[in-house]
């Protein structure tokens, strides 16, 4: 392989990786928010993403909505689902051992996957082409309009989210709860309400990712959330869990690593490489790329 063709491939792989990574980033944003506030690895998050994809699917096929209304519809459905799940499954366990909540999260995840299977059958569904993909060719480098859309949506949602968390009252309350739940309660913050908001926001983001993926890959099924959910969690930890730009960075980094491994080594080692990067980074920077190292005090 000569140098120019190598460079050409490298740039194309970078494009492939960033578009894959922005999907991880979208899911990771919700993960990181929920973790930041109640320190729960919400394994059901990947399944909310699946739920969103199906909501979008039914919005476009049965309700005949166009892309944007369908996206909003899916986000609302997922937000409501997120609130209900938190209310029924996680809130009663607020003071229980964390591992019990984790097992409950696994239970919720299985329930969403297999409950969904009962309703929509395990067969993959083909997402209708809500808008045709335009392929741009820049001197042999191929970029798809859907890839651009996903990246733009991810960045837009990250910025919006950062704004909400940093500038609004709800955001301030969220940060207060994440810092010290009891103190926040004493300050008159309705902790339960703030947590509900967090779940609603996080779930809506996951649903957006689900719909975008449905459009991009064209195929959805009830188990589609498992791997992206796990990868998104890895991305969140990679960037520093609880930190919004960290989730974005982690997601894109993960996507690029996967593309590079597939492109220059072997695609069957792709997932192993993703996890290996995670472990290496954890060993050297235990709180992630953008996380602050907090020493445990006696």
């Amino acid at each position: 392989m000569d140098a120019s063709s190598f460079l050409h491939q490298l740039v194309q792989q970078l494009i492939n990786g960033i578009s894959l990574g922005s999907i991880y980033a979208l899911v990771a944003l919700g993960y990181t928010m929920v973790y930041g506030i109640i320190k729960l690895i919400n394994f059901a998050h990947g399944d909310i993403y699946m739920l969103g994809a199906y909501a979008g699917f039914f919005a476009t096929t049965i309700l005949k909505l166009s892309f944007l209304p369908a996206l909003v519809f899916a986000m609302v459905v997922a937000a409501v689902a997120g609130i209900i799940i938190e209310r029924l499954a996680y809130r009663p366990l607020r003071n229980a051992p964390r591992i019990a909540v984790l097992i409950t999260a696994i239970g919720v995840s299985l329930l969403l996957e297999y409950g969904m299977m009962l309703f929509v059958t395990p067969q993959p569904r083909t997402f209708p082409a809500v808008f045709s993909a335009t392929v741009y060719n820049f001197g042999g480098l191929i970029v798809n309009s859907q890839q651009v859309l996903i990246l733009v949506t991810a960045v837009f949602l990250m910025v919006t989210l950062t704004y909400i968390v940093q500038k609004t009252m709800v955001g301030k309350a969220m940060r207060a709860v994440s810092y010290d739940m009891d103190a926040a309660r004493l300050m008159g913050i309705d902790v339960d309400k703030v947590i509900s908001y967090t779940f609603a926001l996080g779930s809506a983001l996951a649903a957006a990712a689900g719909v975008l993926v449905g459009v991009y890959y064209n195929s959805i099924d009830p188990l589609m959330g498992i791997m992206p959910g796990l990868k998104a969690f890895v991305a969140a930890v990679l960037g520093g869990i609880g930190i919004l730009p960290g989730a974005m960075l982690g997601g894109v980094l993960l996507g690029v690593v996967e593309a590079m491994v597939s492109g220059f080594f072997s695609s069957t080692f792709r997932d192993a490489a993703a996890f290996a990067i995670l472990i290496i980074i954890l060993l050297f920077r235990p709180s992630g790329l953008l996380g602050k190292n907090i020493r445990e005090k006696v």
């Binding site: 491939q9 990786g17 993959p124 392929v135 890959y217 064209n218 195929s219 492109g263 695609s267």
Partner: protein, 394 residues
């Protein structure tokens, strides 16, 4: 602590050995029933990644038994019943499902899974329970011939041709009809079927003077293939051979076209699904070809009759899985009738003698390695429709 307990462990081991000794040489004889319905098992992919194959195959088998029962059943009026066990498209589950069929449902014979890996996983159960399994489509040679011992597994059969044939058919098609000099292979590494095809395609293609410039692998349930396809594009092949199943194949074809890979893409019978054009998009599928067992466009009376009955029953066109599963079921019925008994070993012996059996997918003769010897068809995708291209005889 270890020392203090040494005596205890010793006593446990002694007790264990004693008990194990008592066990040896037990087992009862069971007599086959002579009246009542006869159960035929179907260990199929009802859920999971290959679910549409399993669904088609169970439809085909059910249709076959329905027709036999309407004509009065077998062995002097005994009705046949299909017991379906779901193997979730997983090899480990396939062994469990076969176990359940053999021991709990007490079937006299079974339709084996679609996927070669799953048939092989259940093979040990078939051999020890002495119940024949015939796979409608599993085409890897190792399904009926144990690669470790090179012996034919007496209780395993198939109603289809094997991968060396299918792989070489596509290789000749690529070199002779498409004039390809170089090829890329993108193989589903989770499937023995796909790996077998890749191997035989490579052998056939190289024998005819072609060159495989790159071979890459993917796994079932992968969704993003762009990185590998980008790599493939850089090595500039004349054709790409993608042995695998429609779910991933659909996405591969779609993403390949998006990346500007316009060369012909070839495949095999795993492509045959109405879902393929939905996933890949009709235009992306232009300039793709795959080998298959039969084409519903075929004008032979047997095909016409089957397609009509199937459409009446299920309101859709039968794919090759339905047709082959229909044939496999009829072959079991034929073997039961010839054996004139529900003795599973006798049924197996009769199955092995199948010769010139008139099936929907052509005349079927099983050779000494229990493989069907019959012709293949090549299907071209045109605007989302399957078009009969040519027929290749063995």
């Amino acid at each position: 602590m270890f020392k203090a307990n040494a005596k205890k462990w010793f006593s446990i081991i002694c007790a264990g050995t004693l008990m194990a000794g008592l066990l040896a040489g037990c087992g009862g004889e069971k007599k086959p029933a002579t009246s009542g319905t006869i159960k035929i098992g179907a260990n199929l992919e009802m859920t999971g990644g290959n679910a549409t194959f399993g669904k088609s195959a169970s439809n085909g088998a059910k249709l076959a038994l329905k027709e036999v029962n309407e004509k009065g059943g077998v062995l002097g009026g005994r009705k046949l019943e299909l017991v379906v066990a779901d193997n979730k498209s997983e090899a480990a589950e396939a062994a469990n499902a076969m176990q359940k069929l053999a021991t709990q449902d007490k079937v006299v014979a079974a339709i084996a899974p679609i996927a070669s890996s799953s048939v092989m996983a259940g093979a040990a159960v078939n051999q020890s329970a002495k119940i024949l399994a015939i796979s409608p489509t599993a085409s890897n040679p190792a399904v009926t011939v144990d690669p470790a011992t090179n012996k034919v597994r007496d209780f395993l059969f198939r109603a289809t041709f094997i991968d060396p044939f299918q792989g070489s058919v596509m290789a000749s098609f690529a070199t002779a009809d498409l004039k390809a000099k170089t090829a890329a292979i993108y193989v589903d590494n989770s499937s023995d079927y796909a790996k077998g095809l890749a191997k035989f395609f490579r052998a056939g293609f190289e024998k005819q003077g072609g060159k495989i410039v790159i071979e890459e692998a993917y796994l079932q349930k992968d969704t993003d293939f762009k990185a590998t396809l980008t790599k493939m594009k850089a090595s500039n092949p004349d054709v790409i051979f993608v042995p695998g199943y429609y779910q991933e194949v659909g996405m591969i074809v779609k993403q390949a076209r998006e990346l500007g890979l316009t060369v012909p893409i070839l495949g095999a019978d795993g492509w045959d699904s109405a879902k393929l054009p939905e996933i890949a998009g009709a235009s992306a599928l232009n300039n793709t070809y795959f080998s298959n067992h039969y084409s519903p466009d075929d004008n032979s009376p047997a095909v016409k009759k089957f397609v009509e009955a199937y459409k009446k029953e299920y309101n859709e066109m039968p794919d090759a899985f339905a047709a082959l599963s229909y044939d496999a079921t009829m072959m079991i019925v034929n073997a039961i009738t010839k054996a004139n008994s529900t003795d599973t070993v006798k049924i197996k012996d009769e199955m092995a003698k199948t010769k010139d059996f008139p099936g929907v997918s052509g005349s079927i003769t099983l050779n000494e390695t229990h493989d069907a010897v019959k012709s293949a068809v090549i299907i071209e995708m045109k605007d989302g429709k399957q078009v009969f291209n040519k027929k290749v005889n063995p």
